[in-house]
């Protein structure tokens, strides 16, 4: 027993001392959690979002109306170049032509800048805009749709996400202004407007959105377990076999079974350390609220760790060398992760890929874990399959490893 724990301890310490292991098994999951949460956890609510746009008012020169919608548009966008909070960047930086600039040349130049990715959008107020808006308002909001020439021209680039986003924001701002103008003319009643409610499926409270970190946390935890099993097991055993370290074990009273037990305990401890770090980061830095403390969640985590450990042994038993083992692990890594729904939903896949999805043990442990922590309602296969399939994989992998795995060079 003492030997087993000594081995487990050695396994964990070696993992922490090895820079490669430390990066891939501990630092990388934390890095990925940080990056994904920083990117996707802030979608649509990024206070730092900032666009450089151009506004060209071609109406200003021709209009002498007392009520000027074009002036209102200009003022509105000018106000959005001021930050609401000191030190924070405003939504827009606005480029407008100087009084000495020729409008055609300025517009051409700004559209060229938009094509080159230096502007997010160019908004042009065409001549006759004021008259058209006034006519529309005087007609009681019942006039036919104004012509394209009379509407605001929003130049954007469909191949730039920044431009697409800026265009959507500008349209929302202008739609708000439109409703205000209609309301002032008594053509639109804000109080009678239709409420829009956003809801989420699979939630106890449909109107509460799952924070992205909650959604991604189980994936990162399992990704850590998965890579540790897939790369860590063949890496350790095959390099130790090649370096004749294993041979030194076999001249001690240690049996293969005891070695395996020690290795397994060490692997589970390593996974536990990994899990604790990912959970701590998720909670403290990104406000994750998931609870992993129920007994079935803990059992599922142990099942996941054991499944990937067994998978690691399967690879080890097929590899002739350490490099070969790493290559097999590399080949399996991406397909198994991405065909489990770990980071992207599995939608509309062809049948041959769906077969791989159903055969993939990661799919089952991931779905079971997500359901267990309450962020997913159903699973791909009904219970008890999400547990049976990984157990089956453990059995198959162990049987193959017992038959094929060589514990010494040349054996």
């Amino acid at each position: 027993m003492k030997g087993i724990f000594a081995l487990a301890r050695a396994h964990v310490i070696a993992g922490i001392r090895e820079k490669d292991t430390l990066f891939w098994f501990l630092v990388f999951p934390l890095f990925l959690l940080t990056i994904l949460t920083l990117i996707f956890g802030r979608l649509g609510q990024d206070p730092e979002i900032h666009f450089t746009i151009a506004l060209i008012d071609r109406e200003a020169a021709s209009s002498d109306a007392a009520f000027s919608p074009s002036a209102i548009v200009r003022e509105l966008f000018s106000s959005l170049t001021l930050s609401e909070t000191p030190g924070e960047r405003p939504l827009f930086s606005l480029r407008t032509p100087a009084s000495t600039d020729a409008l055609d040349a300025f517009q051409e130049k700004e559209i060229e800048q938009l094509r080159r990715g230096n502007r997010a959008a160019v908004l042009v107020i065409p001549p006759g805009f004021d008259r058209n808006v006034l006519q529309s308002l005087q007609a009681g909001g019942q006039s036919p749709q104004p012509s394209v020439e009379a509407g605001l021209q929003l130049y954007m680039s469909q191949t730039s996400v920044a431009s697409e986003t800026a265009a959507a924001i500008i349209e929302q701002i202008l739609a708000g202004l439109d409703r205000n103008l209609l309301a002032q003319m008594g053509l639109y009643d804000e109080a009678a407007s239709i409420d829009v409610v956003t809801e989420w499926t699979q939630q106890e409270q449909a109107d509460s959105e799952v924070p992205y970190v909650n959604y991604v946390l189980p994936s990162i935890v399992l990704m850590g377990f998965f890579t540790t099993g897939l790369f860590g097991v063949p890496g350790t055993i095959l390099y130790n076999r090649e370096g004749k370290v294993l041979r030194q074990y076999w001249v001690t009273p240690l049996s293969v079974r005891q070695y395996l037990l020690g290795f397994g305990v060490g692997h589970v401890i390593f996974c536990a350390i990994q899990f604790a770090l990912v959970l701590l980061l998720g909670r403290l830095a990104f406000g994750a609220t998931l609870q992993f403390s129920s007994w079935h969640t803990v059992l599922l985590l142990i099942l996941a760790s054991a499944t990937f450990l067994a998978f690691g042994f399967l690879i080890t038993s097929f590899a002739r060398s350490a490099n070969g083992g790493m290559a097999i692990a590399n080949i399996l890594n991406m397909p198994m992760m991405f065909l489990s729904g770990m980071f992207f939903p599995i939608v509309g896949l062809p049948i041959f890929l769906m077969i791989l999805v159903y055969a993939n043990p990661v799919t089952y442990v991931l779905e079971a874990l997500r359901q267990s922590v309450g962020i997913q309602a159903g699973t791909l296969m009904p219970w008890p399959w999400p547990v049976l399939v990984p157990l089956l994989w453990i059995l198959v992998c162990s049987a193959v490893a017992v038959r094929r795995l060589r514990w010494d060079v040349g054996s």
């Binding site: 979608l43 730092e48 006039s143 605001l152 730039s160 959507a168 290559a327």
Partner: protein, 356 residues
């Protein structure tokens, strides 16, 4: 010249005999493309979005159906109740749902499709605004017309991802090519023998570079071809600029790889360091996630990464992104400059037997 030809031939043989290297250089990017192609094709595409709806009230029903039919989405499907709609959303039979209660419009989304929900919410916002306005019998006084200013027409998301994957392939193979090969030669003591011949250190690096350059170019052709044939992606490739950039960027990243060769001693460490650097760059360079979604400080880091610029140039030469000529030439020249500076500079330090 004869000795260089012999060196080149040895490198060709060495590379073609290494089945694993062949697989990872030529076939692995194809596996990547196939996997991501099937996973991502049509993801978040508003024009193909399937919208499920439940009409709980007959009030303004005709109007809502009319608004939905003009919403510019792929398909609209009616469901009898919320439960069935939720099930359809969960099973991905529809992309998002809408429930009209008579008082409010409820939009239902799958929280698991976070990357796509932003696009779906924009469609939903448009439907809601149009319905609201028409329900009050009003018409917008201010209309906005979107005009696409780019020289290149709109492309699907995967069209933007594929050139990014090509750039990533060039980067990772470039970083590893010199570092991995040299450390392997050191470990196998091949370099000990070569170094006592009149061979110039730079000649060895050039021989390695030429072989990897040709293989890298073939690899990008295969990957691009698979994307175009299987996923029917449209690219308008400027072949001259494409080949020129692949050559210069491969050489440039190999130059960076010589720095790795200087830092590590074992081939596995070289591979790991190259992998770590490539992986970090992949996430920060906007290959899979648009840079614009990132916080400001990450956008700044991203702008400093070679992979960000490589991906943008690859998008430009494959015709999915606008780029000025000067930016193309500056980026290409910068990578060539990296190679010209780093190869001779590092050759004398890295083409050395292992210190014992």
């Amino acid at each position: 010249m004869r000795s260089f030809a012999a060196l080149l031939l040895a490198e060709v043989r060495n590379f073609t005999r290494d089945k694993l290297m062949l697989f990872f250089t030529l076939l692995f990017p194809v596996v990547f493309i196939l996997l991501f192609g099937f996973l991502f094709s049509g993801m978040g595409d508003a024009e193909r979005a399937e919208v499920g709806f439940v009409l709980e009230s007959a009030h303004n029903e005709e109007l809502l159906l009319s608004v939905l039919s003009e919403a510019g989405v792929g398909n609209t499907i009616s469901f009898p109740d919320r439960e069935e709609l939720e099930a359809a959303i969960s099973d991905h039979r529809v992309d998002f749902g809408l429930i009209w209660t008579g008082d409010d419009l409820r939009f239902l989304y799958d929280p698991g499709r976070l990357q796509e929900n932003v696009a779906f919410q924009q469609i939903a916002g448009g439907i809601a605004a149009e319905f609201d306005m028409r329900a009050q019998g009003a018409q917008p006084a201010i209309t906005v017309h979107r005009i696409h200013a780019g020289e290149i027409e709109s492309t699907g998301w995967f069209n933007l991802v594929l050139p990014g994957i090509l750039a990533f392939t060039i980067l990772s193979s470039g970083l590893f090519a010199v570092s991995g090969h040299l450390t392997q030669m050191k470990e196998r003591k091949i370099l000990d023998r070569l170094i006592v011949t009149p061979m110039r250190p730079t000649a060895l690096l050039i021989a390695i570079a030429i072989v990897r350059l040709v293989v890298g170019l073939i690899s990008t052709f295969i990957t691009l071809g698979v994307g175009m044939l299987i996923f029917r992606l449209n690219f308008t490739v400027d072949w001259v600029r494409y080949i020129l950039f692949v050559v210069c960027s491969t050489l440039g990243t190999m130059g960076l790889g010589t720095v790795i060769a200087l830092l590590v001693r074992r081939p596995s460490s070289a591979g790991n360091l190259a992998n770590v650097l490539a992986m970090i760059m992949m996430f920060l360079a906007g290959i899979y996630f648009p840079i614009e979604f990132m916080p400001g400080f990450l956008r700044t880091i991203s702008a400093g990464l070679p992979l960000t610029h490589m991906a943008n140039v690859m998008r430009s030469v494959t015709g999915v992104m606008d780029m000025s000529d000067i930016r193309y030439w500056l980026t290409t020249a910068a990578f060539l400059g990296l190679a010209i500076v780093l190869f001779p500079l590092m050759a004398r330090y890295v083409v050395k037997p292992l210190r014992r």
